[in-house]
Every structure is written in structure tokens, then in C-alpha cells.
Amino acid sequence: MTTTETAPLVPSFDDGEGAGRKLAIICSKGNLDMAYPGLILANAALGEGVETHLFFTFWGFDMINKKTMGDLKFTMLGNTATHLPQGLGGIPGMTAMATHQMKKSIEEIGVPEVPEFLQQIVDSGGHLWACRMSADMQHLEAADLYDEVEAIISASDFIEKTDGAQLLFI
């Protein structure tokens, strides 16, 4: 059956109830597989017009450290979701192989590597922040970090900046 609308049926792209929605994502892991959830969700939120802030802390610093950001790794060790014997993960070269495989799978579906993904997030209007304590612990300064990181800030500054935001800890 065909129904005909009298008023034009147009999708609502207005903010509506979500007006001023904000998302804060805390990235605390430096493994390749744990870098992506935050990046993908940030990218999705930005595409929906949601103001998005990412805070990199502890091992998550590897995602914005110029020396490591392009070289995150995936290990089978301690990850039962590979459904392979745990002992295999400890064999020399296995982490490199698993990393290579995962990077290939990610590339095959057109998802960028971490540095390019961060650039896409920034180009979409996302904000990147580095954790002060992690920088101090690792003796790193702004110059050591990805250029698009806006500043090294304290945890309380981040909480202040993301007032009213929904928060994800990864």
C-alpha cells in the first residue's frame, strides 16, 4: 500500500534534544586493538555533530607519542578472544605477526592507521589532549607529541573542559 504524505517528509538533522551534546573519551591503552574503539567512536560522534574530546593517558600516550603512534602492536598474550593456545602468543615473532595481520584486516576495510585517523578526527573538529602526569612520568614534552594535540593538561583541567559531557573510559 502506498501512503502519500501531504507535508514533505524530511529527515531531522537538527540537534533537537541532543543540542550541545558532548563526548569525552579517555584513551588509556597503548595496544593496537585498544586504540581503535576510541578513534572509531570519536569519529562517529563528530560525524553526528557531537563535540568530542579525547584525553590520552598512561599507555594511551603511545597513541600520540610521535615515536610510537605509528607502531602500536597487538599481542595474543592474555587475549583469549583469539581462541588459540595462549602459549603460542609467547613464541618470538608472534606479536609482530599478529600485529601485521591485524593491520592488514584494518586496512582492508578502509580504516586508516592511528596517525591518519587522528588527523581525520582533528579535521572533523575533534580535540586531542595529553595527560600532564603521563607526560611527566615519561619525560615527554609537547614537541614529542603529535602536532595536533592541543595541550598537555591536568586531569582536573580535562574534567573542567568536558563539563556535562558523556564519558567513555577505554
Binding site: M1, T2, T3, T4, E5, P8, L9, V10, P11, F13, D15, I40, N43, A44, G47, E48, G49, I109, G110, V111, P112, Q120, D123, S124, G125
Partner: protein, 104 residues
């Protein structure tokens, strides 16, 4: 099945208002759809919309924002400027295509 009338064009749409028939679309209609969501079409807008239209039959799905940027050659920043807030969905709507299904 739902039809709606946009600026004298009668079209088939889904529950939200996205067009469901690729061949019902024309550039005139694209301009009318854009006007419905507050977008005034410029040559820059058309470049993105034409890329989406050309890409769809080949791929069988609507290009994601990333694909418009990397394959279509229109920088992400510019897409956000042309189609503010929700560029992927707005582009799909104007191009008479379904919403993109890809995550990135």
C-alpha cells in the same frame, strides 16, 4: 512504501525521508532536497554530491565521509564546512541515497 512531494517532485522515501529509488533523482531534485535542510548548493557542494552519485552504483552502498575525502578528493574539513554537523547523512540525503552503513 511512502511517497512524499518535494517541490512538485513526487518521490519514494523511507520512514525518515531518505529516497529509496536511485533513478528518481535529478540534479533539480537535489537542489530542492538541499533547500529542505538549509543547504544552498554551490559548485563545491555539487562536486561532493556527484561523487556520491557516481560511486553508489559501483559500490552498492553510500560512500562514507572518509571515502568522499580519500577517493573523492574533498578534504574532511571542507565537507564539514559545506554540510555542517552531520555531513555524511546530509550528503546522502541530498544525493538521494541511503545513509552510509560503514563506521568509518
Amino acid at each position: 512504501m511512502v511517497t512524499t512531494t518535494i517541490d512538485t517532485h513526487q518521490i519514494h522515501v523511507d520512514d525518515e525521508g531518505f529516497m529509496t529509488r536511485y533513478d528518481e533523482w535529478t540534479e533539480d531534485l537535489g537542489t530542492a532536497l538541499a533547500a529542505q535542510i538549509g543547504v544552498e548548493m554551490s559548485e563545491e557542494h555539487w562536486k561532493a554530491i556527484r561523487f556520491l552519485r557516481d560511486d553508489f552504483p559501483e559500490r552498492g552502498e553510500t560512500a562514507t565521509l572518509r571515502r568522499v575525502a580519500t577517493v573523492g578528493g574533498i578534504p574532511t574539513k571542507q565537507l564539514f564546512a559545506l554540510f555542517p554537523k552531520k555531513p555524511a547523512k546530509k550528503m546522502a540525503y541530498i544525493a538521494g541515497l541511503p545513509k552510509p552503513r560503514g563506521c568509518v
